[in-house]
Every structure is written in structure tokens, then in C-alpha cells.
Symmetry: C2
Subunit: 319 residues, 2 copies
């Protein structure tokens, strides 16, 4: 039977050629996400892209859902996918774009560029005093997937001492000076000048960064979240910055998103917020990488060979 492949990415002719190159006996349908209908989703064996969860409703036709995101939280909830559907994500596509974005926020906060920027409105020539350097910082990266490793590599390349924290035992990656498991969490926190989290939204990460966590950070420390907003107790974070228990925070993710315009996090000058833009297609090469992952997985699925980036429904991570 001719398999129907629905692709909802904003791709070019070049990308289409790549997807179709080694595929026979399939029909490709390219539809912008905003124009996708329930019928299109229900009538596809393979979908590439984060189609609305409500359109899927455990479709029995759906054999493979290849997400364009690294996060898979919405798709692993019970009842969304039929038990026969394979779910894969785009881990590997976002390392550079998310890591660089968070690294930029880190440097901003270290150099107080956020405060200097605020003075643009009045044209004031204020001096905000002492800054810190990445070159002799202790940087703790929590979550050592593709994004965390890229961030670690950047920090190490500029002189930082990098401590990685992950869930499962492994050899120490070359981007990291010292590797720990989550059980060492509270031992590591007080040492770090910079703590950056790339954890996904799972039950075990919910409000992991709470009042106790922030109380153990250095009061000169900077906290960064490039994973999911639900990992942070935002009230506790706000209090920690306001009370100068930590020096500053940078968030590309919040809970909820968008963060309501009247939310108190916006009011604290030493918190930098960006509207979940570190990933997506903001860096053009990200799309190339997603297409490459999707093309390989479509080919693997059709050939019955092992797929890349299979999601474990229990953890929301890659298997």
C-alpha cells in the first residue's frame, strides 16, 4: 500500500529532494502547520512535524510521528498516540542554537549588559560595577544531551571548569571536566558560578529548582534555564534574585508560555527573559538538521531498520 507522508515543516525544494531521495511507493504532502487539518493527520501513515495533539487522537493509521522538537511532553501523554505509533524527536538538531542562545544570555548577565541596555531609554551613562568572567568560572550543566554538551563545550573552550550532571552513569564526555549523577545534585550546586539547566518537562523535573535549590547556590551565582519552564519554581526564583541569594537569572522558557505581561518575573531587572526562541528555526541550519533526521527515520521505518531518536514514553527522553 502507498504510504501517505505529511510534512509540516517550512521547508525548501532542496529539503523536499532530500526527504524523497531514497523513498519509493509513498506520497508526500507538504502543508504549512497552520493549514494542517484533522483529516490530513488522520489519513497519514507518517507525519513529520509537531501537529496539534488534538488532531491525532490515537489515530490507528499513524505509524511514525517524527517531531521537529526535542521536547516530546505533549505527545507522550496517555491517549494521544495509538500503541502502534512510533514517536521520534529531533534531538541533535538543537544543540548549537539553544546552547549559543543561553551562552549569550549568560555573557549578558556576567557583563551586566542587561542593565546597560535598560539605560538606553533615558540615555544614562551609569556604571554598574564589578563583572565576572567565563574564563575562570565553574559552570554546572544539568542535562547532558546534545544541547547540554554543546553548552559545556563552549564554556570549556573559553576557559571554564565544567561540571556535568546527568541521570545515567556514563564515561565523562570530552566537553566536561567532572561528571556527576543527579544524586550528587546538592553537593555540586554550592560550587557553581553558573548553573544551566536543559532538562525536559517530566514528573521528576517539576519544580526541581525550588527555594532549597536556590538557597544552596552561591550568592554571586547565575541560574539559566534553556530546558522547560516547569522545572523552575518561579516564585522561589524571583525571591532568590530579589533577596540577592543569587545574582541573576536567564530564562528562555517559562511556565506558562507566553508569560503573562503582568507577571512579576518581568519586573525584576536581574532576570532576563526571552520568549522560547532559542530553538525553533531561528538558526537556519537547524531546519537542515531536522530534515536530515526525518529523512533518515522515514527511510529506516520503511526499510524496517532501527530508528534514531526513539522516545521513551516513561521519561520523555530518547531511549
Amino acid at each position: 500500500m502507498m504510504k501517505r507522508i505529511l510534512v509540516t515543516l517550512p521547508i525548501t525544494e532542496y529539503h523536499k529532494k532530500r526527504l524523497e531521495r531514497n523513498v519509493t511507493n509513498c506520497s508526500f504532502q507538504y502543508v504549512p502547520l497552520s493549514e494542517v487539518t484533522i483529516d490530513m493527520v488522520q489519513n497519514s501513515e507518517i507525519i513529520v512535524g509537531n501537529v496539534p495533539v488534538s488532531y491525532i487522537s490515537a489515530s490507528n493509521n499513524l505509524e511514525l510521528l517524527q517531531l521537529n522538537s526535542a521536547g516530546a511532553d505533549a505527545y507522550i501523554l496517555p491517549g494521544v498516540l495509538s500503541s502502534g505509533t512510533i514517536l521520534t524527536n529531533a534531538t541533535g538538531a538543537y544543540g548549537k542554537t539553544v546552547a549559543e542562545h543561553m551562552f549569550g544570555i549568560m555573557m549578558c548577565l556576567q557583563k551586566k549588559l542587561h542593565l546597560y541596555r535598560d539605560d538606553r531609554v533615558t540615555g544614562e551613562w551609569n556604571d554598574y560595577g564589578t563583572v565576572t568572567s567565563i574564563s575562570n568560572a565553574i559552570v554546572t550543566v544539568i542535562g547532558l544531551g546534545d544541547i547540554g554538551l554543546y553548552f559545556a563545550g563552549m564554556a570549556k573552550a573559553l576557559g571554564a571548569y565544567v561540571i556535568g550532571i546527568k541521570r545515567r552513569k556514563s564515561d565523562c564526555p570530552k566537553q566536561v571536566d567532572e561528571l556527576h549523577l543527579m544524586e550528587d545534585f546538592y553537593e555540586i550546586i554550592p560550587k557553581a558560578d553558573i548553573i544551566v539547566s536543559f532538562l525536559p518537562n517530566t514528573p521528576s523535573t517539576y519544580h526541581l529548582y525550588n527555594a532549597e535549590f536556590f538557597s544552596k547556590m552561591k550568592n554571586t551565582g547565575i541560574f539559566l534555564n534553556g530546558g522547560r519552564g516547569s522545572a523552575v519554581d518561579q516564585d522561589a526564583l524571583l525571591a532568590a534574585v530579589q533577596n540577592q541569594d543569587i545574582s541573576a537569572a536567564g530564562l528562555d522558557v517559562t511556565d506558562p508560555e507566553p508569560l503573562p505581561s503582568e507577571h512579576p518575573l518581568w519586573k525584576e531587572k536581574n532576570i532576563m527573559i526571552t520568549p522560547h526562541v532559542s530553538g525553533s528555526y531561528h538558526l537556519p541550519e537547524t531546519l537542515d538538521k531536522i530534515v536530515e533526521i526525518a529523512a533518515a527515520n522515514i527511510e529506516n521505518h520503511l526499510a524496517g531498520t532501527p530508528l534514531k531518536n526513539l522516545i521513551d514514553f516513561e521519561t520523555g527522553y530518547c531511549k
Copy 2:
């Protein structure tokens, strides 16, 4: 004769011990710059720190003036120093602090963090679209002293292709992929994604970055100035950003300083301005390095051995 040494740096006991360690037959006087008087300056054989030019008036007592800055513009003007006075600067102390600051501004502009920051006031959740990456950028560094080389090293460590431009022929430093002389200036500009200048204030650098220069830059290009404000024709820069001949600019130095609050540069959202704070003592280790240079030069001067960081009065650079 007992030589009188006036030190105007904001130093600690530790620093005093370092300065006095190998020095005999001298009297040290430590006075904060704001409390220095004309008499103190006139009655010193050695001065460490940027004392007011008007206090010096070609003092014949002054044997050595060790500046705490890299720039020496005000002190090389005719009539400031007696012909017998040796002038040394603090080149080598500012590489990391200035380079990291400008690198932070660069990453801000690449990731559009300045625009996201501006939305803090209203709490808006806007998406400013495509960003760029340092990892595949062509970065041109103009002025390859200590600061330029540090910046080049950071850019190269994160994947950029680095083109260095300097005045005098030399071997290609390891931080640079391709080395050119100033005569190749207009050939190199159109290739660069990022152009960063660390040039001092000299007659030959005045308005080097003018309308012609900006017209040759890529329209996606970012221009950074961490040297002296006089090198930039600010009207031409403003026009270039407003007309999108270049994408953005970041300035830690302006002409004049402070930049008047009503100056139109403040109004352009794609220009980031910081109030000449990249250097000074904002990074605490800078002061350690300045003290080290000063201590060595005091010892060298007293021993009659060659000094470090001697200023060439014709160029304002180190010899």
C-alpha cells in the same frame, strides 16, 4: 636620593606588598585618584596611575609615569610630559576583560537579546526571527594587541574563521586564521560577518569607520568598537544601521563620552551602547595584572634595566 613613588590605584595590602617587595630606598605614597593634588604629582619621581594631565605640566621630577590604562592619548600630547619622562602603559592587563565584554555584546546582537530585553518593560512575547551563529561566522579583528588577540582566540575557540588586520607585518598569531595588513582593509571588509575594532585614538584612526567603510560591509554584518570612539564616524554608523546597510552595532566607546542623553545613537534599537566599562577594574583580576606590570616597571627603572610597555609618542602604541 630617596625616590618618591605615588600610587593612585585602588589597591589592597596584598598589592602594596607586591609593589614594595623588591624596592629599596624609595618612599611609597598611596592616594586615591580623587584625592591626588598637584603638589603630590609635582613631587614624585615615579607615578603609578592616570593622574590628571594638568597636574603634570612637564614636571622635571617625574622620571616614570606608569599608566593604569592601555590608551595613552592624553599623555602623549606635546607639553604634558617632560622629555626626560618615561611613559609606560598597562597593555596586557585588559585583554580578557575588554574582549569578553565585546564578545558578550556580539552574542547579544547575534541572538537579538537586546530586542528581547527591550520587551521587558511591556512584558510582550515577541519573536524577532532569524539569528546567526558564531560557529560559522567570519570574524575580522582590527587591531591585534593583547585585546584583539584575546577576542580572536575566543571567536576561534567557538568555531569562527578569524581574519586579523594589523599595522605591521608579523607571523600569523595562533588565534588568527588569516593575517592582513591595514592596506588590505577594503578587501577584507565585505567578507566579514562580524567586524570588531580595538584601535586607539590616533590621527590615522580618526573616522576610519566612515560611510565608505559601512557601505562595504555585508548588510547582515555586525560592527563592534571596543577601542576608541573617535575611530567611528557616528553619523555614518547611525545611517548605516537605520538604512540596514549593516544589521547592528555594539559600542563600548563613543565620541564624546559620556554620550549626551539626547544623542540619536541612543534612539536606534539595533545599536547597543555600554558606557566605556569593558576595561577599568570591572573584572577584579585586571587590577592584579596592572600591579604586576607596575611592580616590574618600577624595579626595572630603579635597576636601569629595560622597561615593559614603553609608549611610542608618535603612534600612542607600545614600541
